[in-house]
């Protein structure tokens, strides 16, 4: 029977793995969009007044 913290630690690291995969995907999408020119030098500026 795992202790409360063993369970908490397992859950945390499983959640952090998923989180890491999610941020890797997000970063990959950003790089691909920049390389394809979809996000250009004026993209971010266009979001603000």
């Amino acid at each position: 029977m795992p202790s409360e913290f063993e369970k908490k630690a397992q859950d945390t690291f499983s959640a952090e793995r998923k989180e890491d995969v999610f941020v890797l995907i997000l970063a990959a999408i950003a790089v691909v969009l920049v390389k394809l020119g979809v996000i250009g030098p004026s993209f971010v500026k266009s979001l603000f007044f």
Partner: protein, 458 residues
Amino acid sequence: MAGGGIGIEYSFRALPRMLPGLILCMVFGWAALQWDATTHGWSVDYKEAERLLSIAGKEGGAFAPFADYTAKSKESFALKEAEYKTKIDEHKAALGALQAGQAKPKEPKKPAKPHLLKESEYNDLAQSKEMPGKFSFGNKIIQFQLTYVAMLLLVGMLIRNTVGVAEVFKAGTIAARPIIKPGIIILGGYYLWSDLLKVGAIGLGLVVTFVLGTQILISYWGRRSKVDEGLAGVMAAGVGVCGVSAAVAVAPVVNAKPRDFFYAIGTILLFGTLALFTFPYIGQALNMSQPVFGAWAGTAILNTAQLVAAASWYGHEALLTANVINIVRVGFIPLIVLWTIYFYVVQPAIAAGGEAQKVNVWQVVREKFPIFILGFFIIVTMNEYGMFVQSERDILGKELLKLFFAIGFAGVGLNIAFDDLKKAGGTAFVIGVVAATLKAVLSAVAVMAIGAEVFAIK
């Protein structure tokens, strides 16, 4: 905190629960970036207005007509552009003639476009001959470094501790914090492996000395002061390396009780929050250069989100250095867990004449290694092979990075709750704070002695 996703798991099932808070953080982040863009614009206007007022002062208070002002600036910029084109041709020729083993010649810097006041503002200035209030305000805001980072953290903390964050937003604001990490990954476009290895090697020395040193100090001090092993164990891991994640990772090893865990987390959060708000000003007071501050923040601040925020607050160069030290630091989580297993499980077993428990080192490393840093290494490698041009590097490492950071910092600010900080207490709190302060002071002395040249990312 390597990630900070404690309490929320990224999955499609959890999306409806996270969405309101994520949207709140996006809106809050956008507002702060808008504030940044506006005040920065005023601050640049201030410098131009100051220059114009000084010229006018020398010329008896007369301002040239607006058309002459723009024509003169365009002329001067065209001259600088022509000089740059000649220099870049010379640079290309020198690169072509480069022989193996020779150092690469430095690329000339592209001249920045001159900043011109708008016609209405120029005419107002010419008429009043006084600095407009909004320009002075923008300049003061930049002087006091009240950038988007400060706004998100200060206003976020204020909201959380006054009106509060409605329950419907809570899951999303927690889930927003790790959105800092894609920013850390794409910042890799600014590094070459040579920079990374140079700063990383020094960073490794700093991490081993100060981060592992703190963990070992707290472990032994805690044992001597007869602090409960569970509490000392989580405190040592949390204060030593990586905040909440490291504390959770070692909690089962040391059989920490929930009370121990919350005492340790309270101490870690309290020190991290104090560091986040004071380090940029201490750095300025000590006249630390950006790379030196980055190295200090990377070593002394306890978690990723807080150190990235403090370094961004200080400047882009500080962030570049802090990022490398942080990558080295979070890579140490498996080692922290291994030390804890040795100190609290293996060593007492041997001392008691029992058999040493076998530890599967590979399993610990595989389970605890923060894999997001692999993404950072891939981007660095892509940059090494010339896969990014300068404009792509700037879009990734300056503009998109700000979007990611703004959402993440919104989550950080909205989750700084004074109630959590109040959970710190007892002897272990004293040990934790003294050790963390000692680490901050000694690492400041060390990085200032080592100097900016070593930590600079070129």
